[in-house]
Symmetry: C2
Subunit: 344 residues, 2 copies
Amino acid sequence: MTESNHSPLRPPTMADVARQAGVSHQTVSRVLGDHPNVRIETRAKVLHAIEEMGYRRNSSARALATRRTLTLGVVASNTTLYGPASTLFALEDAARAEGYLVSTVSLRELTVETLSEALDRLSEGGVEGVIALAPQRSAVEALTELRHPFPVVAVGTGSGVEIPSVNVDQRLGAELATNHLLAMGHRTVWHLAGPEDWHEAADRVDGWRATLEAAGVEPPAPLRGDWSPLSGYRAGQELAGWVGRGLTAVFVANDQMALGVLRALREAGVRTPQDVAVVGFDDIPESEFFAPPLTTVRQDFSAVGTRSIALLLDLIEGRTPSGTSRVAIEPQLLVRASTFPYHP
Amino acid sequence: MTESNHSPLRPPTMADVARQAGVSHQTVSRVLGDHPNVRIETRAKVLHAIEEMGYRRNSSARALATRRTLTLGVVASNTTLYGPASTLFALEDAARAEGYLVSTVSLRELTVETLSEALDRLSEGGVEGVIALAPQRSAVEALTELRHPFPVVAVGTGSGVEIPSVNVDQRLGAELATNHLLAMGHRTVWHLAGPEDWHEAADRVDGWRATLEAAGVEPPAPLRGDWSPLSGYRAGQELAGWVGRGLTAVFVANDQMALGVLRALREAGVRTPQDVAVVGFDDIPESEFFAPPLTTVRQDFSAVGTRSIALLLDLIEGRTPSGTSRVAIEPQLLVRASTFPYHP
DNA sequence: CCATGAATTGTTAGCGCTCACAATGACCTC
DNA sequence: GAGGTCATTGTGAGCGCTAACAATTCATGG
């Protein structure tokens, strides 16, 4: 690990290593590329020179010659929330397993402008493809109208968009939650939904409504929150007012809002689950320790990551996507103390 | 935005654009680089050709010629936790403001091997520098012994490491929390600490202990958790056993564990804050809605991001770091309902 | 009307790597 | 021992861009 004798200003090049080892630069390249036809002693000489000089292949030159950067891009927003953060992690993990590096652009808000700028930046960064976490309707629209020189896979766009996408089946999740409450003996299920322009929120509303209708129940008007505990708290205060007038069960579109709802109910003297049962969505690590522990729907973010990367790589390689280019992943219901057999 | 007439196999090059616009490739380069001495009509011609052909500069070639990739790397772990996720976001945001793209490697666990591999990958990716979120002692050791061809700034290493680093002043945070409880009238303060090999956990223990000792109080033996709500729950069960035997206040090393503690106390019939006051650390978005809302210490992750990137860029540019290369950032106490004036 | 210098544009070399192909030599086969 | 094969290594030509310098154009003043 000694320092080499080249100018300290410039890191050593492959040619420097070759000279040192007494071979051609191409042989060095072969050693680095694990090419089979290199004599064992030659390889050793080269490796020794590499080690001695602390040589590292220049990635830009390599990328220029091979036309591959082995880098993917991700555009995301709200990355401190559990869902996006988990997806991000899963994506990076899956990409790494495939030999790719991931460059991330985290936006405060997803608009045509910010998305466009993000794609430009990633393009300047030489990514071979991009995963867009585009949970809002506006983002998906932006995505379809924007021109980009690489394939893009959307995640969290809900069902029914034209671009290749990977999604957790939100309607199914809502159905699981709603059916669970009905099975517990509740006559109807109220719903605190997410923001109107979020695909996932819309799909959860759809799944909830469809399930109630299938059970022959007229769905009450859903409330709206913005995913935050505070908005859940406010909605919870409103919901508390309906207790005793037909409200016995609430399906909340995410765990954070459910936390707010629980607090509001508690403050209003409404007991969970005895008076009102509550179901959340996401299974954040905290929900198991809420008061009471929250029944919720878990999404398999790891699967989302794997499938998204697989789909994107198919697109990059020009392969026909293995399977379809609209992937749906099944969520799973977790029953905890916030729901309880209800006996009217 | 029409399609160009070049081979669909190869994206257009600068030379293609030059030909189309009737200028030399260098003029195209000048236009793209906003070089001043280009006639206005020439610029227009070039821009038109670029638009028409959908030309995009090849980042690899550019990087090769300029020796700049304008990419930074980040190594992190536990990225779905609020703290790391927030730091990650802040880092990316700050880097973007400086014109850099960020490549992230998220590790499941931080060991010499995984860290070394991560740095290698980032090196292969051509990053100009790396921010390492290295909250564990082992990671810092790995960092100091690992050789890398670019500057590295460590974040969350606590005080007193040899490498350039940026940190929230954890001892101060612990001091704020502990003093707050003492000021509320508590005779002593118990502590549920984080994992032993985490710098931040150690610093919080130190700050807590020092504050108690400064107040002339013998600190009780701290409990240990692993940051998870579950570990907090278990510790909380143990703590509940000490109620009535001198335990009236607990400083918990993070909000998630505090959540577990709250649940355990509640289940044991111990009221918060009337019987036991609880303070957390981090101010995760949920803590305001815990039962009861949690007094906690907020860390300014945004400042961490900005300062880290500034420091790293100084190192990359070979500038003397503006100020020191050990940056400490002040945390802030948020008082909520989980602490309460205590009247013995 | 030409020298003068500034503004504008073009030309030539790389940046450090991989790819395609050529060259070398060792080893067989008949 | 000629011809062929295979393993191993070297050579040359880019990849698409920027930097440095050369060349050209243009306006201006004496």
